[in-house]
Structure formats: structure tokens, C-alpha cells
Amino acid sequence: MSEATLVEVSAADDHSGQDHGAHMVTSTGLSNNKLAMWLFLGSECLLFGGLISTYMLYRGRHTGSPGPAQLWDIPLTSVSSFVLLMSSLTMVLAVSAAQQRDDRLTCLWLTVTALLGSTFVGAQVYEFTSFYHEGVGFTTSLFSSSFFTLTGFHGIHVTVGIIMLMSLVGIISRSKIPGDKAEVVELIGLYWHFVDIIWIVIFTLVYLIPA
């Protein structure tokens, strides 16, 4: 890093309100932003735990309407699971690039992650649409209500993640200091990986293990 860039970093630390906290000395010696993100993810476990439990309780309640055995398209869901898993790889590569202060590569991997996430959401929309055409809507049965609520909430989380990723690409593109958003990339990366691990659980408990 050149002398001039070091001066720029110091100036940014002094005047940027957003990133100033990342360099502050805290009582724990850890980033408060990162602590807050882990706490948030811990609380999200309770949210998804409730939704998964509700589905497990009601997955057999579909008298007179198609149930999981008739509806599931395992090959499609397997491919979309694989796509989301690979998006975790591209996300960790983005975090790695950000820590090496390579903004161009960071933006590239973030964009690829967002595209893979969009593919997953597209597959989910297709799945929901096909279920609807087969006569299974949100209020058709307790099974369908709990299924759409669980997977819908997950889909919303993925969509929010995609919006954050693309916003981050825009912010990094306009930033003049290489690597100054490394912590933000890491925090959004944690959120994205969390969305992935929730799907790992949903894929096994909802799709692969029969009711």
C-alpha cells in the first residue's frame, strides 16, 4: 500500500461514520457489528425452529388434497439445493477477496452469489406455481399452509440477501478505498451462509424424509 493510500485510510477512519465503529476498541476486543450479527443469527434459529416444528406437526394433514408424495419434484429441488450450496462457496470467495482488498474480485463473486441465489428463488417460484396449478394453495390444508409459510419465509430471506448483495456491489463500486467494506462483506456473508444452512435442514426434513 502506498503512503498516499495509507493517508486516505486514516482520513476515512477519522471521518467516515459508518466504518468508524469497525476500528474502535471495544470492551470485548471484538467487533460489535459481528457480535450483533451472530446474536441475530442465533435468534433466527428460534424463528425457523418454530416454522420447521409447525410443518413437522402438520405435514400429514392434507385429507382430500395432494400431499408431499404427490407434489415433491426431488430432482428440481436437489438441483436448487446444489445451486444454493455453491452460492455459499462463491460467498466465501467474495469474503476472501474482500480481506485481500481486491474490490474487483469481491464484486465479481458477490454478483455470482446473487445470480445463484436468484436461480434458487426462481426454482422456488416455479415450484410454488406448479403446486398452485395442482390445486394446492396456501389455505388448502394445514400441510400446505405450514409448507408455504416455512419455505416462503426462507425464500424471503434469500431475496433479502440478494438485495443486500447487489446493494453491496454498488457501494463497493463507488468506494475509493480498497477493502474498506471488508467487514460488511463478511457480515452479509454470515447472513447468506445462515440462509444456506437453514435450507440444508429444510431439504432433509421436508423433502427427503417422507411424512
Binding site: S31, L41, G50, L89, E186, I197, T204, L208
Partner: protein, 114 residues
């Protein structure tokens, strides 16, 4: 190494230590290998769905699910390399959720199919 480069390294190391991510920097090839292993496990899971392995089916799927879950959390989310406080925060939420909802499902006599 010049003085400015040395300062840059010190600054970066201090920044990393403050975030509790010392030792988190792994080569990209490591992450690619882990992702390949996760993809293989997913393929095995889907394969088990189509095979008839009797009573081993559910335990096998649950074990593979836990392996994938822990791998992503430990490696991709860097929890294995990060400060222990992050692990306490996340796993306390996770175990609280698992405990509470297993208890709740048992009250519905879930395991009796009632």
C-alpha cells in the same frame, strides 16, 4: 519489505485480531475442496432417497444433514477459527431452539403420530 508495507501488514493484522478472525484466512482451494465434499454429501443424500436401505434411512439422512450443517458453520462461516464468544452466541440460540421445539413437539405426542 518497505516501511509502509510493514505498517500495512501490522494494521491488517491488528484489524483481524480485533475482529477475532485470526487464522481465518485459508486459501481458496481449501474452500473449493470443502464445497466439493458438501456437493458429494448432497448427492449421497439424494441417492439414499431413491434407494431402500430400511431402518438406516432416517438416521443416515439426519447424520449427513448435521455434517453439512456443522461444516458450513465451522468452515464457511469461520466459526471454527473465530473467537469462542461467537460460537457461544450462535450455538446457544440453536440448542435453545432445538430443545424448546423438541419439547413442544413431544407435548403434541408427535412421536406417537397422534
Amino acid at each position: 519489505m518497505t516501511t509502509t508495507e510493514h505498517s500495512d501488514h501490522i494494521e491488517h493484522d491488528e484489524h483481524g485480531a480485533a475482529h477475532g478472525d485470526a487464522g481465518a484466512h485459508k486459501p481458496n482451494s481449501f474452500y473449493i475442496q470443502v464445497a466439493a465434499a458438501l456437493a458429494v454429501i448432497t448427492a449421497v443424500e439424494v441417492g439414499l432417497y431413491y434407494l431402500d436401505i430400511g431402518k438406516l434411512f432416517m438416521p443416515a439422512l439426519l447424520i449427513l444433514m448435521v455434517v453439512k450443517f456443522v461444516t458450513v458453520v465451522s468452515v464457511f462461516m469461520h466459526l471454527k477459527f473465530d473467537h469462542k464468544l461467537f460460537s457461544y452466541l450462535f450455538y446457544s440460540g440453536l440448542f435453545l431452539a432445538v430443545g424448546v421445539y423438541i419439547a413442544a413437539l413431544m407435548t403434541f405426542r408427535f412421536f406417537d403420530g397422534g
